[in-house]
């Protein structure tokens, strides 16, 4: 079975996110970028399925400018077999654009399983996997915390508000990964060298026959309101007094 994994290059989770002075967007100048943590979990799960003998080939796809290749190389260094980079230059894209592009890749590659992170930590949309499943007419399981392939079905445990839900889906299927699915492995140094030699093909939205038509416009980005500094009160009585009269919560 072939697995397609989609990965996104996002602002690193350790970086303090800043908003541009004109509030037009997040400031990405000089900022460290990395593979989206949920995507990394998706890659790891694909690797484990291959190690379990379920999958035979892992294809990693990313969409974006030239640097998107970096996260494909990261996934290849983790152990994926080959990469596809969809060169979108600097085009602004929404989740539906991404899902359409991935849909064309799925059409061409005919995988048994598509793994995606449940959301990217930059935009937090949580849409692409669902849209992709609809476009491909595949069954879907989102927020996976356990995945096992049994014959021509995949059994997925999902993290839902009330607890856990277990689904059985016919393959091919789309799965989006949640945080507790696995802990990604450390990349080994010799694997980074090998990854540089693994095949990475380039394509474009035009070649895939997708006309990018961003239907969303970003109006304004604002940082969260800053918390005003606390004060130290002298006594419990004063605290109660303040809660009653200043904060008016009692």
């Amino acid at each position: 079975m072939k697995i397609v994994v989609a990965v996104k290059r996002v602002i690193d989770y350790n970086v303090k996110v800043r908003v541009k002075a004109d509030n037009s967007n997040v400031d990405l100048n000089n900022v460290k970028m990395s593979i989206n943590p949920f995507c990394e979990i998706a890659v790891e799960e694909a690797l484990r399925l291959r190690e379990a003998g379920v999958a035979s080939e892992i294809v990693v796809v990313s969409i974006g400018p030239k640097q998107a290749q970096d996260v494909i190389r990261t996934a290849l260094a983790m152990g994926a077999d080959r990469g596809i980079w969809i060169d979108s230059a600097d085009a602004e894209m929404n989740a539906l654009d991404i899902a359409c592009l991935l849909g064309r890749v799925v059409e061409a590659e005919q995988p048994g399983l598509v793994l995606l992170g449940k959301q990217a930590i930059d935009s937090d949309n949580n849409q692409t996997a669902q849209m992709l499943a609809a476009l491909c007419d595949f069954p879907q399981a989102t927020f996976a915390s356990a995945v096992t392939v049994e014959g021509d079905q995949v059994v997925v445990t999902r993290e839902i508000d009330g607890g856990l839900q277990t689904l059985a889906l016919d393959l091919p299927a789309v799965i989006s990964t949640d945080l507790r699915l696995n802990e990604p492995r450390y990349v080994k140094l010799p694997e980074i060298m090998k990854a540089k030699k693994k095949p990475l093909t380039t394509t474009t939205p035009e070649q895939l026959g997708v006309h990018l038509e961003n239907t969303l416009s970003l109006l304004r980005v604002e940082p969260p309101a800053e918390r005003s500094p606390g004060i130290r009160v002298e006594s419990v009585d004063q605290l109660i007094e303040n809660l009653k009269h200043q904060a008016k919560v009692l």
Binding site: V15, A21, N29, N30, E183, Y186, L189
Partner: protein
């Protein structure tokens, strides 16, 4: 955990392994490849870097001279090197108190401190650019991997390094994710870890590299990057100064540089030979920013990044022997910074070029590695680097011995009238860790509370360094004698680590009425000050899991 035997580790072999992707290491890597390509020879070169990416652990002012870069890539402008802001104006001040500043007339400034022709840069970005050049020349650059141990050959020579084990729990036991470190064998290993490199320390001891040199001296540099109001921004304006708030036997200097995109960098270097254990370099820096000279630019702006790093500033007299069997010391790992210019980038890069030329000449002549390349010392002696550092040899000792006024006057005479050729050499052999006086001889310092606009508390600052360490891992700040912090440091010096650490790593907390020494290693910004300043020399900084530490952007 059972110690991992070297026989159980995977190994890779390179002609040259370079430790540290800073200006020295990357310059050496690029030069090695240039020489190999010019000679039509194959050469395998790898660079390991403990930061999560190249530049993540780089922190410098920085105003740099392009001299070494001109030699390495004469076409650096066409290649898009990030030297975009030329110094437009150069000002030097003496702060008399919290309000008054006296501008030193240009004619009285030591010639070494003139900056015309230099550039204001982000050294982090320059290193990222150098890494791109290196990779396009065929160098393997591996960020996220720390050089944790020396690999020694049977004859005692250095044969490479071993990268740190990954996935080791706080108790030292292997976790599920355990990945043993890798042996990187090398004909020659170039150590470019920066100031107070932890393998460098081991090499000094093993090969007695500093047996004939003066004690090294250090400063702690604290730096912030600010977005300021566009109308206050003057690209290329470079301000240096000294004086307030340091005094009472403490010395240092500050800087404020206007870079591009309405950003300024502001910083303070505190000499680590200060005597009063109550002194807190961090708090000195915070109150410095309230001086009108600096506040005029910062007011209404927003702080973006904070960081700190120790610098080696002992200069020429403190330079160790820089070669030993199987390897060389480069840049600040040896201490090539020119304190008279307050610049270390061009000198570090030059040391990298010299190291590369030394190693390549040896290997081209059939040397397979492991030898003691004394040729490095000869090439150093014949270079402008030697001439420059020798001319500046008295600068630091003069300030240490005569103070800022008489020392400054000496430096003016030495540097401007005699061009560093005064026929005398001043020595300063009193190590920084031995300079503290017991608290009973000192006065506590009351630092003003941060106002949240110009000055900030330590923890919110560390937050802006992007520092992160994998949570479950052994503490990388090792105490030889765990009883000393409370047993002697607390009693004699009120445990100065609480104050000299710029990242709030060390704390004395009270637990059940008893003081306890707490080490918050996850806050560590890898500045190495604790390794340097602890009066008992009881703290050893070792590399944590690769990729940990600060994530500096354009610092």
């Amino acid at each position: 955990m059972e110690k991992v035997e070297n026989s159980e580790r995977d190994a890779m072999a390179f002609d040259v392994v370079i430790v540290g992707a800073g200006p020295a290491g990357l310059s050496a890597a690029c030069r090695l490849m240039q020489l190999a390509q010019a000679a039509g020879q194959e050469l395998s070169v790898c660079v390991v870097e403990k930061g999560s990416e190249v530049g993540a652990h780089i922190l410098s002012g920085a105003v740099i001279e392009s001299r070494a870069l001109d030699e390495l890539f004469p076409d650096w402008r066409e290649r898009g090197a990030p030297l975009k802001v030329a110094v437009s104006r150069d000002e030097l001040y003496l702060l008399r108190n919290e309000q008054k500043a006296v501008r030193i007339p240009q004619a009285l400034i030591p010639a070494t401190m003139h900056n015309s022709g230099n550039h204001v840069v982000s050294l982090g970005n320059l290193c990222r650019w150098l890494a791109e050049q290196a990779e396009s020349l065929g160098v393997e650059v591996f960020p996220g991997f720390s050089a944790h141990q020396l690999l020694l050959n049977a004859d005692g020579s250095v044969g490479g390094i071993i990268t740190g084990d990954m996935g080791v729990g706080a108790d030292g036991r292997a976790l599920d994710s355990f990945t043993p470190g890798l042996i990187l064998r090398a004909g020659y290993t170039l150590f470019a870890e920066g100031c107070r490199g932890h393998l460098g320390r081991q090499l000094y001891r093993r090969f007695g590299l500093d047996a004939d040199s003066d004690a090294q001296h250090y400063g702690l540099g604290l730096k912030e990057l600010w977005d300021i109001k566009p109308e206050r921004h003057q690209p290329g304006l470079v301000i240096h100064g000294s004086g307030w708030p340091l005094g009472d036997g403490a010395s240092g200097g500050f800087f404020l540089y206007h870079t591009e995109n309405h950003q300024v960098v502001v910083g303070l270097i505190v000499d680590l030979n200060y005597r009063n254990p109550y002194l807190s370099p961090y708090d000195e820096f915070q109150r410095l920013k309230h001086h009108p000279l600096l506040a005029q630019y910062l007011e209404g702006g927003k702080r973006v990044v904070y960081g700190a790093r120790a610098i080696a500033k002992g200069g020429f007299n403190a330079l160790p022997k820089m070669h030993f069997p199987g390897g060389l010391l480069l840049g600040c790992n040896a201490g090539t910074l020119n304190f008279a210019k307050i610049k270390g980038t061009h000198t570090a890069m030059k040391s990298g070029l010299l190291a590369a030329e030394t190693v390549f000449a040896a290997m081209a002549a059939g040397d397979e590695g492991g030898r003691d390349l004394a040729d490095y010392a000869r090439r150093f002696r014949d270079s402008w680097l030697h001439e420059e550092l020798r001319a500046a040899r008295n600068f630091g000792p003069a300030l240490h011995r005569f103070g800022p006024f008489a020392g400054g006057a000496f430096n003016f005479i030495d540097q401007n009238l005699f061009k560093g050729r005064l026929p005398l050499t001043l020595h300063d052999n009193h190590p920084d860790h031995a300079s503290l006086r017991p608290t009973r001889e000192c006065t506590p310092i009351n630092y003003p509370k941060p106002d949240g606009r110009l000055s900030f508390d330590k923890l919110s600052s560390v937050f802006l360094s992007g520092t992160n360490h994998a949570e479950n891992q052994p503490c990388h700040l090792q105490l030889h004698d765990p009883s000393l912090p409370l047993g002697s440091n607390l009693l004699l010096y009120a445990e100065p680590a609480q104050r000299y650490c710029p990242a709030g790593v060390y704390e004395i907390v009270e637990e059940n009425g008893e003081p306890r020494f707490r080490v918050n290693a996850q806050n560590c910004v890898h500045c190495k000050t604790c390794d340097i300043k602890d009066p008992a020399q009881n703290i050893t900084w070792v590399t944590p899991e690769g990729g940990g530490g600060p994530n500096y952007p354009n610092m």
